[in-house]
């Protein structure tokens, strides 16, 4: 299987989960939005730590501030107050270009709506972060990343020729291609059906267990959250609960199945 070969070739190797140093540390994160006359506190003093190799979910009802938190963690947005250390670096000291470099090198971000470029092949989508990183031998690495999510045979397909699950896997390959230490996902299964969600979770679990990549994702589905080891609950911009998932409740996702014959045929057309 192509996936297994790609994983063995990975330089990261296997890391014991939960034993790493602190990779994310936030203290008193606050973010307020003004909408007309109303001031909304999206984050209201959030503090927690994530260690290298953890797999954790952030849950909460809509409006609880989980997406805002993810954007701050992904260095896409700056908090109004509070501090965020990523890998020991205080991100508020970084300028726009340094933040772009952090997003490029240290973080892989997966969005609910995939956010792939239109009219661009899967291979080129995955090559983009390498392009901005100034890597020369992009194609080989991009193909490797596509193989790791089981899409080696879809490299030349454009987003419109791929199913939702396949598009999200292209997005994951794009997030992984620069070997980031941290994979952030904002409702990665929100636009997918249950079976496809399961496939995506399997990829996250495998990346976490086999490559030791720290994975943090947002979800509002309890079943999805049960695939992790730790769940943080947000409510009204504050941490409501931060607890490990009990051993007995944890789920292991089914590994990726090859796409059924009719779906593959449709995608190739």
């Amino acid at each position: 299987m192509a996936t297994a070969v790609a994983l063995e070739a990975s330089p990261t190797g296997s890391v014991t989960p939960g034993a790493g140093e602190v990779i994310i540390k936030v203290e008193g994160l606050t973010k307020t939005y003004t909408m007309g006359d109303v001031t909304v506190r999206a984050l209201d003093g959030v503090s927690f730590e994530v260690r290298r190799g953890e797999l954790l979910a952030i849950m909460g009802p809509s409006g609880s501030g989980k997406s805002t938190l993810m954007n701050v963690l992904g260095c896409l947005d700056q908090p109004g107050a509070g501090t965020y250390w990523l890998d020991g670096v205080e991100t508020s000291t970084l300028d726009d270009d340094a933040l772009a470099e952090v997003r490029n090198q240290k973080i892989g971000f997966v969005f609910q709506q995939f956010n792939l470029l239109a009219r661009t092949s899967a291979l080129e989508q995955v090559e983009l972060p390498l392009l901005y990183a100034g890597v020369r031998d992009r194609q080989a690495r991009a193909l490797e990343a596509l193989a790791a999510v089981g899409l080696a045979d879809r490299a030349r397909h454009r987003p419109t020729e791929l199913s939702g699950g396949q598009q999200q896997r292209v997005a994951i390959a794009r997030a992984l291609v620069n070997n980031p230490a941290l994979l952030l996902a904002d409702e990665p299964t929100g636009a997918l059906d249950t079976r496809t969600s399961e496939e995506i979770m399997a990829i996250f679990q495998r990346l976490n267990e086999e490559q030791g990549i720290t994975v943090v994702f947002v979800t509002h589905e309890p079943d999805i959250a049960r695939h992790t080891r730790r769940v943080i609950h947000l409510r009204d911009g504050q941490i409501n609960q931060d607890a490990p998932v009990p051993e007995g409740e944890r789920l292991t996702a089914r590994p990726i199945q090859e796409a059924p014959a009719h779906e593959a045929a449709a995608a190739r057309r």
Partner: protein, 418 residues
Amino acid sequence: MNLTESIRVALRALGANKLRAALTMLGMIIGVGSVIALMSIGRGVQAGITSQIKGLGSNLLFITPGSTTQGGVRAQAGTASTLTAEDAQAMLDSGRVPQAVAVAPEAPNGGQVVANGQNTFTRLNGVTPEFLEVRNFSVAEGDFFSAEQMAARSLVAVLGANTRQTLFGDSDAVGQTVRVNQINLRVIGVMAPKGAQAQGGQDDVIYVPLTTMQTRLNRARTARGGQTISTINVQLADDRVETRQAAVENIGELLRERHRVAQDDFTIRSQEDLLQTANQITGFITLFLGSVAGISLLVGGIGIMNIMLVSVTERTREIGIRKAIGAKRRDILAQFLIEATVVSVVGGAIGIFIGAGGSRLLNGIRFGGPTAQPIQTVVSPDAIVLAFTVSALIGLFFGVYPAVKASRLNPIEALRYE
């Protein structure tokens, strides 16, 4: 991200919307094309006039009489009758103008000419045999008159090419007789065609010996009783500025002495003076044509800016995605700047091709029938370089604002944009 990769990204983005890219380029194509075409027409006019002035002869000075004053009103220059054939001869004989190698006085006069049952009004020009060499003319049929015929005030004539055509058509002209002011002149030669000139047709003329002109055809005299002439052509030994200046000074001194005046009653102009004046005028024409076309180039540039702004707005989400995965400000800036520059440079290149090609096609066409002056166009390399540079700069200039706008987008807001 290096330049070649930026260009590839830009080309892909343009390729995604080919019609729009082509229409945007059309603005640049028309702008650059018209700059090249109109400038080449201006340059063509300049080249034509320059070659005409140079065709007058080499190292020439033209001396014309000053203006008359009647009742305190000064008339046009050249109206005074002060120059004589003796003035011309004195320049050579006195040895006071060593820079002069030949002189050729002219005494033109209009006249009705009858010959072969045809008649025409043409210019009669009384000249000396030296005229042929000094003014760079040549004879096509027969001969020009000799010094002997000049001294004998012979009743002979040499026809300009057009006059010959009008009077005799395809039949032989040499040996025929033309009648001017009730006097019969024998045609001894026909000039080679010289082409039209700013001062009027040089082929529409009849040359007669100066002496014949002054004694038999036109008896105008100076105030002092000399026989008047309108222009003295002086050929100088070489084209150095010092020679010219010395000659102008010497001739001025000689003529003032001969005319017994303190102030010049004549004007000395050189070929270079004529060239300078003409170049000033034609340069202005070129500039004028170029700036009219430049306006369309400017409009093309604004078209680029407009499309780039639309493009930035349309691709806000794409910019957000690129930023989210690590594109720096300068990457986005470069992408949009290069897109704008590629549009303008490619449009500019096509415009140069079309403008230069159009100018070539236009060259030699006679608007207004076969007798009209043909249009001359000169596609100069500096106009091409200028147009190309300007189009690249326009792309950069009008691309900066949209590109800066794109590069400053906040990634989160850009990603949320629908």
